[in-house]
């Protein structure tokens, strides 16, 4: 089993495209998530966004890198910290912002908010706010593909906290037992809310434990978008080849509080600063600058473009109509006419 859990290092011959344009696209994708969320903080403070809002800042490489391994036919199941997953998946920023404003144009028509972004057309099966709750669902999506012979991957994101949930273990066993086409991506940011990994897991090597279910299982540097992309591509390839579920432990870190604001009493400032030195966005940008694949001017132009896009999303969300209160009871059950054969 040990061979299945060695930390991933990019290998020559890997099919990851290595051209500069691709790398610039990865940077843009990560920066979009970063800037979008920074704007969210502002809007939350101004009470334009309410409810719980969990920021992904620091973990962008995971969502962006994994998405590179997925096609439009594949499915994504996510957590309540899912702005990054949704944006990387291609859910429009306008629809996400409008959702957080509770507007009719929101991707869940104002029913979900930050924690429950959905886009069935993009096979984005939502933010699930029950830790571990998305895992059985993802197994079901994979089961349907398995039973109908469709060669698709279902990718399920979850955190290290979910490792303590029965639903993870039930699903890992079920998926491995039935060899379901499931890509399990554990975003190990070292904290289950405020409880450190070593305070909630007896064995903190999560990839090792996942391997115990008979799955191919790797630990990956989740702060390096290229490493993430490479690992995800190889895992997805294995899933598509019928080798059953694959497990990726993405070692990453969130730079901000668990939800909007917290006092960070549970972790050292020094620890946060240490991880920030490995900022997946700025670090990657630096690498591209050093490699002369990115210029300062191009970076500025990119920032302007992203800011303009976010401005448009905010403006559109502000302008969008509220969902009329008369529609309150809609979508509890399907309309009677629908599908009743």
């Amino acid at each position: 089993m040990s061979s299945t859990r060695t930390a991933h290092t990019p290998r020559p011959g890997s099919r990851v495209r290595r051209d500069a344009a691709h790398r610039l696209a990865l940077l843009e994708s990560m920066l979009r998530v970063r800037r979008f969320e920074e704007r969210c903080v502002e809007l939350y403070s101004a009470a334009r966004i309410r409810g719980f809002m969990h920021l992904y800042i620091g973990e962008e490489a995971v969502a962006v890198g994994v998405n590179e391994a997925l096609t439009g036919d594949d499915a994504v199941v996510s957590t309540y910290r899912e702005h990054g997953h949704a944006l990387a998946r291609g859910v429009p920023a306008e629809a996400i912002m409008a959702e957080m404003f509770g507007k009719v144009t929101g991707c869940s028509r104002g029913r979900g908010g930050s924690m429950h972004l959905f886009d069935a057309g993009r096979r984005f099966y939502g933010g699930n706010a029950i830790v571990g709750g998305g895992l059985p669902l993802a197994a079901g999506l994979a089961l349907a593909d398995h039973m109908t012979g469709r060669n698709r991957v279902t990718c399920c994101f979850f955190g290290d906290g979910a490792f303590a949930e029965g639903e993870f273990h039930e699903t890992a066993n079920l998926a491995a037992l039935w060899r379901l086409p499931l890509l399990l991506v554990c975003e190990n940011n070292l904290y289950a809310m405020g409880t450190a990994l070593e305070r909630h897991q007896a064995q903190t090597d999560l990839a090792l434990r996942a391997a115990g279910y008979g799955m191919v299982s790797w630990a990956v540097d989740g702060m390096d978008v290229l490493a993430v992309e490479d690992a995800a591509r190889r895992a997805a390839e294995g899933v598509r080849a019928g080798a059953g579920p694959h497990f990726l432990e993405m070692r990453t870190y969130r730079f901000r509080a668990h939800s909007m604001y917290d006092a960070d009493r549970y972790r050292d400032k020094a620890e946060i600063e240490h991880w920030k030195e490995r900022d997946p966005v700025e670090g990657f940008a630096r690498r591209l600058l050093e490699a002369k694949e990115l210029t300062g001017k191009a970076r500025d132009a990119l920032e302007d473009r992203l800011a303009a896009g976010i401005d448009r999303a905010v403006e559109a969300a502000e302008q969008a109509p509220e969902e009329p209160v008369e529609t309150l009871l809609e979508y509890v059950t399907s309309p009677v006419e629908a599908n009743r054969s």
Binding site: G106, F118, G133
Partner: protein, 359 residues
């Protein structure tokens, strides 16, 4: 549990043209799987074992292990997997052995199945059917005997059915599978061996409506599932005493068919609600409240409730029997409602709550 199983792969049509509730349910699943390849059955021991209560016996042989899918003892995972499969076009029938075990999957049922459609702004329909056994009466004690269907009936987004007759066991599944929303079917364990002649399909009243199983004029006995036979027996006893009881079978616990209940009470002016759940916060409480809200001026007596005693269902036969609604407690309640109390009998457990009784 094995004691209640019949191992013989009984054909649907048993002797003398009668069908058991178990066979009817199996026949319904067989028909559904033959008609629609998206339908599959998943659950603990549904395949090789033939189902904990023998309901799926013989289906594995006909449909194979892909469609008759034995699941590990992971209620949350396989119920959730059913939900996920339903999201992308499958029509899963998920069997949970008993309602007590369903609590291990409650997260999936409530937080996903019942919620996804709304939370996604109408994007995700969940056409899953979840079947489970409920109820007491077979000395299975406190972790296999409870009637928690009322809890599920509390949840918007679910349809909750309680087939109480062989015909409903036979014909409720198809419309449940056709429903784009999650449907829970509660099968009372005491009903599996009940047999009856199966009426032809036409005339089946659908899954929306309550049905008057026995018309009467003096008091409406409103019940469902495993309590229906008791209510009918009570109505026989009452008839001997000159009291004409109308027995109404809810069939659908959510949504409730207020119109049928209201019509009945508007005729009889008295109601007894029989519910094997615990009294406090029960479905019976909900029905009583609705009758009071909607039919206050029709009521000629307080609404009576006959529920289970507020105790984990005990093992010993006499204790278990005393904890459950029985024909004689229903009779007593009906007599109170019509103002014709029977002569006091020491062995009649009058379950009417008295003020100050701790419970």
């Amino acid at each position: 549990m094995t004691a209640t199983r019949t191992r013989t792969p009984a054909p649907a049509a048993a002797a003398e043209g009668r069908t058991t509730y178990r066979d009817a349910m199996r026949e319904a699943m067989r028909e559904a799987m033959r008609a629609d390849e998206r339908v599959f059955l998943m659950g603990e021991d549904v395949g090789r074992y033939g189902g904990c209560f023998g309901v799926s016996l013989g289906l594995l042989e006909e449909f194979g292990p892909e469609r008759i899918r034995d699941a590990p003892l992971s209620e949350s995972a396989f119920v959730g997997a059913g939900i996920g499969a339903a999201l992308v076009g499958m029509r899963p029938i998920v069997e949970i052995m008993t309602v007590n075990f369903s609590l291990l999957a409650l997260d999936q049922i409530l937080n996903n199945a019942a919620t996804l459609l709304h939370m996604s702004g109408g994007q995700l329909e969940v056409p899953i059917v979840i079947r489970m056994t409920t109820g007491a009466g077979r000395q299975l004690a406190a972790q296999h005997s409870h009637s928690l269907e009322g809890w599920y009936a509390h949840i918007p987004g679910l349809r909750v059915l309680a087939p109480a007759t062989v015909a409903d066991a036979r014909y409720m599944l198809a419309p449940a599978l056709a429903d784009p929303d999650p449907v829970l079917i509660f099968e009372h364990g005491s009903l599996y061996n009940v047999s009856a002649e199966l009426p032809a399909g036409p005339g089946f009243p659908g899954i929306e409506r309550a049905v008057v199983r026995r018309p009467g004029t003096d008091v409406s006995v409103i019940t469902y599932g495993g309590s229906l036979p008791k209510a009918l027996a009570a109505a026989d006893d009452l008839a001997e005493a000159g009291i004409s009881a109308e027995v109404v079978d809810l069939r659908s616990l959510r949504p409730l068919d207020d119109a049928t209940l209201g019509d009945s009470v508007a005729r009889t002016h008295r109601a007894v609600v029989v519910d094997e759940g615990w009294r406090t916060g029960s479905l019976a409480a909900e029905i009583s409240a609705r009758l009071t809200e909607g039919h206050f001026y029709d009521l000629d007596a307080p609404v009576e409730r006959v529920c289970s005693a507020e105790v984990p269902i005990p093992y010993a036969r006499a204790l278990e029997a005393a904890a459950l609604p029985q024909a004689d407690t229903i009779v007593a309640a009906a007599r109170r409602a019509v103002g014709d109390p029977a002569p006091a009998r020491a062995d009649t457990a009058d379950q009417r709550p008295t003020a100050g009784r701790p419970s």
